[in-house]
């Protein structure tokens, strides 16, 4: 089941008097439960694509469809609700709320919208997530008292607390040492398996890419490769699926 679909997506940024086209017509789709890496060097457009999937940015041209809903026509309020209900975010710089402790940071997204959970269920769920990321004894600590790896674990728990369909992670290991980075990815993979949550993460580290089931490689704003483990290359380097904007190449 396709959960995310990009159709001929372009993104142009004004840079002074000139315009920079960061994404030049990208089409691919993501299946529910995918553990997908959007890979590519710096400036290839992976963060821009992640932003558009995360509904924090809009395409200049083309369509992004989340859970069957085109995001282009949605109001700011509807997009915010969609982000809250459907998406979870893990940021490169962790982005924890500095004045809140671990438990409060994890709980925070639940306070932003209507929750179907009762108080006790909510408390159990938060405690479960904190335990899952191995921070039970750190639950009352603030972010400045945690290591980078611990902070990213908090961010993972926070991203999962609303039980989103999709978790987006922008270079989640970029600010971590390699060992901690691996642990974080393993944790994400474990949750992906256990909860069937779709994980979409961007990285420029080739070693990390290998852990993904599905890899979309970008170069200069174009898809150069779209492969799924154990399957044929869906879009090869220079192949038309990405460049011609048909969107067909992304279909598994």
């Amino acid at each position: 089941m396709v959960i995310v679909e990009l159709q001929d997506v372009h993104k142009v940024y004004p840079l002074g008097k000139v315009e920079v086209e960061a994404v030049k017509g990208v089409s691919f789709s993501i299946e529910k439960g995918d553990f997908i890496s959007i890979a590519g060097p710096s400036g290839s457009g992976k963060t821009t694509i992640l932003n558009m999937i995360g509904c924090v940015d809009r395409p200049t041209q083309g369509t992004v469809i989340i859970n069957g809903q085109p995001t282009k026509e949605l109001s700011d309020r509807a997009l915010t609700t969609l982000r809250h209900d459907t998406l979870g975010f893990i940021f490169q710089s962790f982005n924890l709320i500095p004045v809140l402790d671990v438990r409060e940071n994890v709980e925070f997204p639940l306070l932003l919208g209507k929750s179907r959970m009762g108080k006790s269920e909510k408390d159990e769920w938060i405690d479960y997530l904190i335990e899952e990321v191995g921070l039970t004894q750190w639950r009352d600590h603030r972010s400045n008292e945690l290591s980078g790896g611990q902070r990213q674990r908090v961010a993972i728990a926070r991203a999962l607390v609303t039980k989103p369909h999709i978790v987006l992670a922008d270079e989640p290991t970029a600010n971590l040492d390699s060992k901690t980075g691996e642990q974080i990815l393993e944790l994400m993979k474990k949750i992906n398996r256990e909860m069937q949550t779709t994980f979409i993460f961007s990285t420029h580290d080739a070693k990390i890419v290998n852990i993904a089931d599905h890899v979309v490689r970008l170069q200069d704003g174009l898809v150069t490769e779209n492969i799924r483990k154990g399957e044929d290359v869906l879009v090869g380097a220079g192949a038309g699926g990405a460049a011609d904007g048909t969107g067909e190449g992304g279909r598994a």
């Binding site: 963060t47 992640l50 932003n51 995360g54 924090v56 940015d57 700011d76 309020r77 915010t80 609700t81 982000r83 809250h84 209900d85 975010f89 940021f91 490169q92 710089s93 982005n95 709320i97 500095p98 004045v99 809140l100 409060e104 925070f108 997204p109 306070l111 932003l112 919208g113 926070r158 609303t162 922008d170």
Partner: protein
């Protein structure tokens, strides 16, 4: 809401320096407001209580001046002092008052200006003459305490002054005057000078009296009328020649005033134009006969002072309907320049508060803008995680209100404390103006609950105004900024 309050408190603690800058401004604002309003309120309350109890009553009725505003202290016009109009249809107005159930009592008055001196002396001093009928006057205004002699009796000729006034007169005239001694009053009406010798029959003292009340001289109404030229047949007055004046100046006091006669220097106008004087003789009359029907003011005491605005409105309506050229007003109208001085000080104070508020808003806005810029990543993260713009708006509002309430409370405690310290210091008013402000000779200010609440409300409004622009900036922060945080 609890999470917003939690975030607000922790953010305020986290950004202590900014919190202190904004909080200090707010607390200072509250201190200025509470202390300033305590002074203003005390002054206004003191002046109001002092004037309504001692001089004006609750409702003041006067004739209308062609130019300027009428008060118990005469007519203030752009070009200076004008002639105070006599009250037309006095008897009908009195009849109307007696038919009004709200009215408890009334007293009538004439105000004049004169100079006080003694015979064979070149020194003289200013006197504000309140011509009264002692019987009815003391029924309403009984606060003045007799410290020597007695108050004027009905029909008695003489003056009553304050103890302070006698000390001032003695100092200025270089005399040792006391109760029983005579003093010469020179009336300065529009109809020229009129001189009369009257005895000092008593000395009074006011509770919380000020230097201003020391200028007031109570005089029997007939003397006041004569000094002001409110006499029957005064259009037949005889001019006094220079030689006569010289002769008068050389005469002894007893020779001049033994018979209590009036010496007039000039006169041109009748006492009460238009209105016929009841039974005024057509034949030549003595110029010393006062027009007993002439009054300038009626001072009304109400059963409930709070009814004053309604009574004033009813009377003014009645004057208009009946075509009577008179007007009614509250105590402020009667107090004239004295209440105006309080109003002027309050206006100056309010202008100062507005300026301080604008400066505070600018400083607070700048500080909050810096705070928003510093928290761009945090706000972007909240938006990315699903916080609507309304959440961000509420978050800043709660922070603003928290800081305003906490530091407002600190400012209140400081303000009330400062007032307490100032009261304990027994600060004396050095001049008449300060005595008006202090509502007495010693400062005793008090902050009312209403003043404290209004000060807090104003500070909260200032804080809310200051946070509008920074919040508008915060609301413009897109969730994508969360991705750009390093």
């Amino acid at each position: 809401m609890p999470v917003l309050i939690r975030i607000a408190f922790r953010n305020l603690l986290e950004h202590r320096s900014k919190t202190l800058i904004i909080g200090t401004l707010l607390a200072l604002g509250v201190v200025i407001l509470i202390v300033g309003n305590a002074f203003m309120d005390t002054a206004e309350r003191g002046v109001k209580e002092g004037f309504t109890a001692n001089f004006t009553g609750d409702v003041f009725i006067s004739g209308k001046a062609t130019n300027g505003t009428v008060s118990l202290f005469g007519v203030q016009a752009a070009g200076g002092q004008e002639t105070t109009p006599t009250l037309p249809y006095y008897d009908r107005i009195v009849e109307k008052l007696s038919s009004m159930p709200q009215v408890e009592d009334k007293a009538s008055q004439i105000t004049g200006f004169g100079m006080a001196t003694i015979a064979n002396s070149d020194d003289q001093t200013f006197a504000l003459l309140f011509g009264i009928e002692p019987g009815e006057y003391r029924r309403i205004f009984d606060q003045a305490k007799i410290v020597d002699g007695h108050f004027l009796e009905p029909g008695e000729e003489g003056i009553v002054i304050t103890k302070g006034a006698l000390e001032r007169v003695n100092k200025q005239l270089k005399q040792e005057l006391k109760v029983g001694d005579r003093i010469m009053l020179t009336g300065m009406g529009s109809m020229g000078f009129k001189i009369r010798s009257v005895p000092i029959v008593g000395l009074v003292e006011y509770k919380n009296g000020s230097e201003a009340s020391d200028f007031i001289t109570y005089v029997d109404v007939n003397t006041a009328r004569i000094l002001q030229g409110l006499t029957l047949g005064n259009d037949a007055d005889t001019p006094v020649s220079e030689s006569q004046k010289a002769l008068l100046a050389q005469s002894s006091e007893d020779e001049m005033f033994g018979g209590g006669e009036v010496v007039e220097t000039s006169s041109t106008a009748p006492s009460r134009p238009a209105e016929p004087v009841a039974a005024a003789p057509a034949a030549p009359v003595a110029q010393s006969v006062a027009d007993t029907g002439a009054w300038q003011f009626i001072l009304v005491k109400l059963k409930h002072p709070s009814q004053a605005p309604r009574v004033v409105a009813e009377l003014n309506q009645w004057f208009a309907t009946e075509g009577i050229d008179a007007q009614a007003g509250g105590w402020k109208m009667a107090a004239g320049p004295f209440s105006q001085s309080i109003d002027v000080v309050r206006i100056i104070f309010n202008i100062a508060i507005i300026i301080v508020s604008i400066v505070a808003i600018i400083i607070m806005t700048n500080t909050l803008v810096i705070s928003v810029i510093e928290r761009t990543g945090e706000i972007g993260t909240m938006r990315a995680l699903g916080a609507q713009r309304g959440f961000v708006r509420k978050m800043f509002l709660v922070e603003t209100l928290t800081i305003a309430v906490v530091f407002g409370a600190i400012g209140t405690v400081l303000g009330v404390g400062i007032i307490g310290i100032l009261n304990l210091a027994h600060i004396e008013a050095g001049n008449a103006f300060l005595q008006i402000l202090f509502a007495g000779k010693i400062l005793h200010a008090s902050a009312s609950i209403g003043s404290i609440i209004s000060s807090l409300v104003l500070v909260i409004v200032v804080a809310i105004l200051a946070h509008i622009y920074p919040v508008s900036l915060a609301l413009k922060i897109e969730p994508v900024r969360a991705m750009q945080t390093e």
